[in-house]
């Protein structure tokens, strides 16, 4: 965190009301949010921390009853909610799982999240679910299929969704469309928004020797509805070159904070999630990471430079 002065300790929170009230529209407030984890349920309700929103993985809440629904309902009553799907397999070759989509639609109906988002990836094939965000070939066929799947999801959910740009480790020899251009085309054709994962941009660009600035320029930044920030792990590929792994188990890297600030200067403040899903730290640690994002949002609130559409 060499580029910024860390804000002072979080101090006393006075609840979500410490932030300007969110207007009742279909966008998340332009503040920092954190992932809601079961081990933090009670602390969140007791402390009512000052965060812009909470995000949950939809699939974790596809259970009939019990404590998960009890706490999510209570916290939803106090905070804006972003719901993030990890299992619709929008990039899959096979048809969407209709039963799963219908369960997600019911969950969205129940909790009325401000926003629902999913990934440009696949996770199921045939009967099996692989619990990972797997890469797809980028060509005209997959473009048409992804748009069709998004259309089905948006119809079932009765709202536009956000699609997250992926972090990938391999490229396919038979891809014919560059990734950022593929994302841009999907968003143009399907009418969905962009969940800009800045860590994914950084990870993919390092892994495939792409220029992050050029990649961002190719993305439809005008469609950004939310930003994700997360930590990555370092590995090396067969040639001994850097291979970054998007593992959501570490603080956001300095290089990613820097890229995030560049994006904010360009598009202005946007709802930003700190994703930390593995080796989940204390609520305080998560909040301090969110506080850093909030500080960046504040410094960029003044004058965005504007975006080329």
């Amino acid at each position: 965190m060499t580029d910024f002065i860390h804000p002072a300790a979080i101090g006393q929170h006075t609840g979500a009301a410490c932030l300007p009230a969110a207007t009742p529209c279909a966008t998340l407030p332009p503040h920092a949010g954190i992932g809601l984890k079961p081990q933090h349920f009670k602390s969140v309700l007791e402390q009512q921390p000052c965060v812009g929103f909470f995000e949950v993985h939809a699939e974790n809440y596809l259970v009939a009853g019990g404590p998960l629904h009890h706490y999510l309902s209570a916290i939803r009553a106090e905070y804006p909610l972003s719901m993030h799907g990890v299992g619709l397999s929008i990039g899959g070759e096979s048809a969407l799982n209709a039963k799963h989509l219908s369960a997600i639609a019911q969950l969205v109906d129940r909790y009325q999240p401000t926003q629902f988002s999913e990934h440009l990836a696949w996770s199921s094939h045939g009967e099996n679910f692989y619990n990972d965000l797997l890469p797809l070939r980028y060509d005209e066929h997959s473009l048409a299929r992804v748009c069709e799947h998004i259309d089905q999801v948006q119809t079932a959910l009765k709202q536009p969704i956000l699609l997250e740009n992926p972090a990938t480790y391999v490229q396919f020899t038979d891809s014919t469309i560059p990734e950022a251009m593929f994302v841009r085309e999907v968003i143009k054709r399907s009418g969905c928004g962009l969940l800009l994962d800045v860590n994914n941009v950084y990870v993919s660009c390092i892994n495939h020797h792409w220029n992050a600035r050029a990649y961002l320029d190719e993305l439809p930044l005008w469609a950004v509805g939310e930003i994700h920030l997360a930590g990555f792990a370092e590995d090396t590929d067969d040639l001994g070159e850097r291979l970054l792994i998007d593992h959501h188990g570490a603080p956001v890297a300095d290089s990613v904070w820097k890229l995030y600030l560049e994006v904010l200067h360009q598009i202005g403040p946007k709802a930003t999630l700190i994703e930390w899903d593995n080796d989940v730290p204390s609520l305080e640690r998560l909040l301090s990471e969110a506080e850093h994002a909030e500080h960046c949002l504040h410094t960029c609130a003044a004058k965005p430079q504007g975006i080329r559409a």
């Binding site: 974790n60 009853g65 397999s89 799963h100 996770s123 490229q171 038979d174 067969d238």
Partner: protein
């Protein structure tokens, strides 16, 4: 095969090479996906079966989980139901044969998770139940509707005591692991409670679950153990908020 079919197959098969459509050099790059799949699903199993993992150690557990995952990957994206077949798998997993009670512990842990996430239901008022119990006709013709989170564990080993010792109740060294044990799993508030019960109590409650009348369930419990204590078992169900209603018996057995 389609390209995703080839990719998917290679994810679970360590002996197959990297899919040909991946740009080279790709071995270590593809290995990231392979590793993500196995390690995230192993994590999911470790979350569901924490005591099972403690009993055999993390290294053994993850090696065992890997074999299970390759054999029975999840069939959907909701992982709270993943691992339904893990206890049966453990029972036949030769390297775990020296820990005969392991499968029973896994069975109890899976039941615990299902109880945690089962549907909510409001308990029946105790005065309504008291009225029912004094009505002989009703007793003979009615069953009880039990809470969706209720289940009965019936094992061949002392899995209930072993599990409890890992929650800080009792000493592991004092347990006769060969002793068959039963338990009632309930969720009176937001947390699951595991209560040891005897065989006749287990018999009575499973009869009610099957839709038998109170009288039939009582009879069967008495056949199991002539000292079966009806009041004690009903009080336990009541205390655990596990009786949600009365129903006309669906069938007799």
């Amino acid at each position: 095969m389609t390209s995703q079919a080839t990719f998917a197959q290679a994810l679970l098969d360590p002996d197959s090479g990297t899919p040909a459509t991946c740009q080279t050099p790709s071995t270590r790059r593809f290995a990231v996906y392979r590793n993500n799949v196995i390690s995230s699903l192993s994590d999911a199993l470790a979350d569901t079966f924490p005591v099972t993992q403690t009993l055999v150690g993390e290294e053994f557990f993850r090696a065992m989980a890997q074999v299970f995952i390759r054999q029975s990957p999840p069939n959907g994206p909701v992982l709270t139901g993943y691992g339904a077949g893990f206890a049966d798998f453990i029972e036949h997993f030769a390297p775990a044969a020296s820990v005969p009670y392991l499968a029973d512990v896994a069975r109890l842990e899976f039941a615990y998770l299902q109880s945690l996430h089962a549907a909510d239901a409001a308990p029946m008022a105790s005065d309504e139940l008291s009225a029912l119990l004094t009505d002989e006709h009703a007793l003979a013709h009615s069953g009880l509707r039990l809470h969706p989170a209720l289940s009965v564990h019936q094992g061949n080993f002392a899995a209930v005591s072993i599990w409890a010792a890992h929650q800080g109740h009792g000493e592991l060294s004092q347990i006769n692991t060969q002793q068959p044990e039963q338990a009632l799993l309930t969720r009176p508030q937001l947390a699951v409670e595991v209560t040891p019960i005897n065989t006749s109590g287990a018999q009575f409650i499973t009869c009610l679950q099957r839709g038998n009348t109170l009288a039939q369930a009582w009879q069967q419990a008495l056949a199991q153990d002539s000292h079966f204590d009806l009041t004690q078992t009903l009080s336990l169900l009541l205390r655990q908020h596990s009786i949600v209603g009365v129903q006309q018996a669906s069938h007799t057995r």
